[in-house]
């Protein structure tokens, strides 16, 4: 099961169809305001986490058993990122309380679980695998370079073909003019 009702985001979402947004708003209206959940979450975060969450809409926690760093993003589905030492995402995790809850409540449950019973939580969690098909992110939240490299690779191939075509045309013209 995916907790598909993704959460409110301050990021622009111009690419999302209006129908989906409408449904989301309707669903969120059914749940009521997110504010109580966010207030409760803020009460339980450390000062550093509050600051980080305020700035970036995510906060980092350290796993109680392994010392692994996780980033809990504002969201309800696959919003937990396991970070490598260099800050890159190595895996995304997904677990939440059974049922329908506010975003803040879900994030708080995730924080407490990772900080106090990490292994039990991960045992029941789903993840995208170490090389899953989800877009990985850099520490700053931007898409990871490998995705950009892939796009650049395609662009470079196109330019290479075009360059060969131009070169061939020039050689052909030169041959026809000279001979």
């Amino acid at each position: 099961m995916m907790f598909g009702f993704s959460t409110q985001s301050r990021r622009p979402s111009g690419s999302q169809p209006r129908r989906a947004l409408g449904f989301r708003e309707e669903y969120r209206g059914h749940l009521g305001s997110e504010e109580p959940g966010q207030n409760l979450l803020l009460q339980w975060l450390s000062p550093d986490q509050v600051e980080q969450y305020d700035l970036c809409l995510y906060f980092d926690v350290v796993g109680s058993a392994t010392g692994t760093r996780y980033r809990i993003r504002r969201g309800t589905a696959l919003n937990i990122e396991q970070l490598a030492a260099d800050g890159c995402v190595t895996r995304r995790w997904c677990f939440a309380p059974e049922g329908t809850f506010r975003t803040g409540d879900i994030m708080l449950a995730q924080k407490i679980a990772l900080e106090t019973f990490e292994l039990d939580a991960l045992a029941i969690a789903n993840h995208d695998g170490p090389r899953g098909g989800f877009p990985h992110r850099q520490p700053d939240g931007l898409p990871r370079r490998e995705g950009q490299a892939g796009r650049r690779h395609i662009d470079e191939s196109c330019w290479l073909v075009l360059a060969f075509a131009c070169f061939g045309t020039v050689v052909w013209l030169f041959y026809n003019i000279v001979f």
Partner: protein, 73 residues
């Protein structure tokens, strides 16, 4: 005043009790056992954003949060 916060579909439900009131403490302990039995996890809020999972009722905990059973998403 101590508070038990139970996460539920409406957000959260809060139960407050006075630790010096024996009857209220008994009631809070019964609630604790009932919720744990129902699969909730109880966590006590500590200073500095830290928390501790409670296996048994702690009448000194100022704020206890009950998290419903977790499941993979």
């Amino acid at each position: 005043m101590a508070t038990q916060i139970v996460m539920d579909h409406t957000g959260d439900t809060r139960h407050q009790f006075e630790p010096a009131d024996a009857a209220a403490v008994t009631e809070a302990e019964a609630r604790f056992k009932m919720l744990i039995g129902a699969g909730f996890t109880a966590a006590k809020r500590l200073d500095g954003g830290k928390s501790e999972v409670l296996r048994s009722f702690d009448s000194t905990a100022k704020e206890t949060l009950f998290i419903p059973r977790l499941m993979g998403g």
